[in-house]
């Protein structure tokens, strides 16, 4: 092939442009830490990274939801445990009643039993940090009214939070009401006819009136049923806590894995980029050196030498 003056020039410009483009790309990668500056840098990697990033965003959102769920289910479990203790205490008071007790003794027990009703009301009517009633269903009213009876405005609706795709955990429980209308909850169960508040207030009434027959019979049975109902709620709220804890642990692992994947895909491997930079740098220098040497070669140089020597 015949080589002309512009052959060298075009080659030098072309190789210089190519090396400079690579150098600029590597400089941007190294200085920003991002291996992918634009989707076009590597469309398939970008698509994969974008999907992983979206998954990571969802995991982070679920993690935030799980934190809220952890707090709410723990509050529920604590409340159920406390209520269980209150009713258990009521059962102990009733078991201390004998047919030979005087009315004064019974009234003393009745006073202590009334304190338990007050404590129960306090637990059931508690509010969350946002000022909402925790156990009034979704209607945001106190489950037990100031008169000590069920509030008719309450409802039995519960709420759930998605802590993972397809994994909704119940984060609220309703107190319920004997009605009307009757609403199932941890204080009232229509299927078994269990009424926790009713059992305690009836016991107080019977203690104050000295009705030992009722106290040793129906009242004791009612309190035992109340204890059974609350035990099931202690169990279910603990199960919810456990479910949230398991989900949180899985989310944490998934988050770490996705973050690593996204990082591997999108962040610069400094060692590899530095080696590449060095290679391109050498290539660029070699290209410039070659161009300088070749472009200086000309018969004109020798003609000059000949004319000088002669």
């Amino acid at each position: 092939m015949r080589v002309t003056a512009s052959t060298y020039t075009n080659l030098a410009i072309s190789s210089s442009n190519s090396a400079q483009t690579q150098l600029a790309q590597l400089q941007a990668e190294i200085s920003s830490g991002d291996a992918i500056q634009n989707p076009s840098d590597d469309p398939s990697v970008y698509a994969e990274a974008a999907q992983d990033q979206e998954s990571l965003n969802q995991i982070n959102a679920y993690t935030t939801a799980a934190q809220t769920a952890t707090s709410m289910t723990a509050t529920n479990n604590t409340a159920m445990t406390n209520l269980h203790q209150v009713v258990a205490q009521a059962g102990e008071y009733l078991s201390s009643v004998t047919s030979g007790m005087t009315s004064s003794q019974l009234q003393n027990v009745g006073t202590e039993m009334q304190d338990l009703v007050t404590e129960l009301t306090s637990i059931v009517n508690q509010k969350g940090s946002d000022g909402n009633y925790l156990f009034g269903g979704t209607s945001n009213v106190a489950p037990i009214s100031s008169s000590g009876t069920y509030n008719s405005g309450t409802n039995g609706a519960t709420t759930s939070i998605d802590v993972q795709p397809g994994n909704a955990v119940q984060v609220s429980i309703a107190a319920g009401s004997s009605g009307p209308p009757a609403v199932d909850g941890f204080l009232y169960d229509s299927a078994s006819g269990t009424d926790v508040l009713g059992a305690l207030t009836q016991a107080v009434s019977d203690l104050n009136s000295g009705n030992t027959t009722a106290l040793l019979g129906t009242d004791t049975t009612a309190v035992n049923n109340a204890l059974t109902l609350l035990s099931s709620y202690v169990g279910s709220t603990a199960a919810s806590m456990s479910a949230v804890s398991t989900a949180t642990s899985q989310l944490s692992q998934q988050s770490t894995a996705e973050s690593t994947t996204v990082g591997d895909l999108t962040q610069t491997n400094l060692a590899s980029a530095s080696v590449q930079l060095q290679q391109v740098e050498m290539q660029y220098q070699a290209g410039l050196e070659a161009a300088t040497r070749v472009m200086n070669l000309s018969i004109l140089n020798y003609m000059d030498q000949v004319s000088t020597s002669t």
């Binding site: 052959t7 989707p39 970008y46 939801a65 809220t68």
Partner: protein, 477 residues
């Protein structure tokens, strides 16, 4: 004979000088002085040579390579602009992967403004579902929804603006095309004049016309057909009936037509090219050269809004925005706000260009219908249903597809540019190998002709000396 030899060597040296002078002139084709032996004459001793004559000065043009380079330049112009314009469009969309360090040990990554804003919106809706009475959670939803609409509006506006700039640039390209057509027609005229007046080949003018055709080829794919009278006819390769130069008429100055562009962003084909006599050219014509690339990026890649039948980026963004609006509005209307009233439309607008959070909700976040039942302020199940829109394939995954699809287009354009660049470079090297000037070669030839000139001069001196001797010896003493 000596005089003839001196003239011939001098002409050859002048040709070398001309070659060396034009070593860096674009489009210049090297010339060569072809010498031939003069007619012989018969003497008593037999045939005797009579020296040298110049048969012609030849322009070493390779028409095949010239045609291939012109074609390749058309593809090169297309590839260069396609790479540049698609990259600009990618920048205009603004969906780039980025990471930012939040502390020495952790960093957050984002796959783009719109995608991040969508993720944030669904995340805040999820938080709202857990705390439906929390005013901060409600405000956050409004804020993130506003960020989504702002990101979509911004990207849409930037794409429209880029499309407008491409249209302006295309207008400038047609101006250059018309100017080159006029120049080629003018050169046609000069070439025919020179040829008819002197019978010469008008090589310099042909070189100049060839360079103009090359430049024209990079702007729009054309075919240049040489005519018997020395002129060339230039027509669009995609539409041979659209003749830009015919004989001595071309572009804006002659009777042959000029090109112009018209831009209507609301048309399904926003950017179209028309010929002054052919009228509007078909969609996608021209298909190559810079102008072809501008048409493709403006009409196909960016395209028209969905309402105008566009399926390009604007249409796709409209589809994402419409899907988001439709699903969010349906979900919000299905629920109840904090006051127990039925929900209203969450977003307003017709597409990505004007999507906005409904003003009543923007001004009063308690109107977000987080509850599924009336009078249940602690019910956040409808907010959870709205958050689940993130699983709809027509919102976030659709946005991911738009961005990665554009990335693939830009990457393919860059790759095509590299390939086309190599093809053009190889063809130009081949062309240059035949038509280009080599300084070493010219200098070597210069020495050779210089020495021949000196030898011829010595021959003349020697003959003159012979005559002097002859005349001196034969003079009467």
């Amino acid at each position: 004979m000596g005089s003839q030899a001196l003239n011939a060597q001098q002409l050859a040296i002048q040709t070398i000088g001309n070659n060396l002078s034009n070593v860096n002139t674009a489009g210049y084709v090297r010339e060569r002085t072809n010498l031939t032996e003069s007619d012989t004459m018969m003497t008593s001793s037999g045939e005797q040579g009579t020296g040298v004559t110049v048969s012609n000065i030849e322009s070493l043009r390779d028409s095949l390579l010239d045609g291939l380079v012109q074609q390749s330049l058309g593809s090169q112009g297309y590839a260069d602009d396609q790479a540049s314009l698609t990259s600009t469009v990618q920048t205009a969309l603004g969906e780039n992967f980025s990471s930012s360090s939040t502390s020495s040990s952790s960093s957050t990554t984002s796959s783009g403004a719109i995608q991040s804003a969508l993720s944030n919106l669904f995340s805040s809706l999820q938080s709202l579902s857990a705390s439906p009475t929390d005013p901060t959670a409600r405000q956050q939803v409004v804020q993130d929804a506003t960020a989504v609409s702002t990101a979509l509006n911004g990207a849409y506006s930037r794409l429209q603006s880029t499309q407008g700039q491409i249209a302006t640039d295309a207008g400038s390209i047609t101006g250059q095309i018309n100017q080159l057509s006029t120049s080629i027609a003018s050169l046609n005229q000069q070439i025919t004049s020179v040829q008819s007046a002197s019978g010469g080949s008008a090589d310099e003018l042909v070189d100049e016309r060839s360079e103009d055709i090359s430049q024209l080829s990079s702007l729009v794919n054309v075919t240049a057909t040489p005519q018997s009278d020395g002129t060339v006819t230039v027509a669009l390769a995609d539409a041979p009936s659209v003749v830009l130069v015919s004989g001595v008429n071309g572009g804006g100055a002659g009777t042959t037509q000029s090109l112009s562009v018209s831009y209507d962003p609301t048309s399904s084909t926003p950017l179209t090219v028309s010929g002054s006599t052919s009228g509007a050219l078909g969609a996608g014509i021209p298909s190559s050269g810079s102008l072809g690339s501008h048409l493709e990026v403006a009409n196909v890649l960016i395209g028209a809004p969905a309402a105008d039948g566009g399926t390009g980026l604007l249409g796709q963004l409209d589809d994402v925005a419409s899907s988001l609006m439709s699903q969010m509005n349906t979900a919000n209307k299905a629920g109840y706000d904090l006051n127990g009233n039925a929900g209203t439309a969450f977003f307003t607008g017709t597409g990505a260009g004007d999507i906005a959070v409904a003003s009543n909700i923007a001004n009063n976040p308690s109107l977000i219908a987080a509850a599924s039942t009336a009078g249940a302020p602690l019910d956040g199940s409808n907010a959870a249903a709205m958050a689940n829109i993130q699983n709809s394939s027509s919102v976030i995954p659709a946005m991911e597809n738009i961005v990665s699809g554009l990335g693939t287009t830009v990457s393919a354009a860059a790759s095509n540019q590299t390939t086309q660049d190599q093809v053009t470079t190889q063809l130009q090297d081949q062309q240059n190998s035949v038509e280009g000037v080599s300084i070493d070669e010219e200098m070597t030839n210069l020495i050779s002709f210089q020495q021949a000139y000196s030898a011829s001069a010595r021959f003349v001196t020697t003959i003159a000396g012979l005559y002097d001797t002859l005349i001196g010896e034969t003079q009467p003493s």
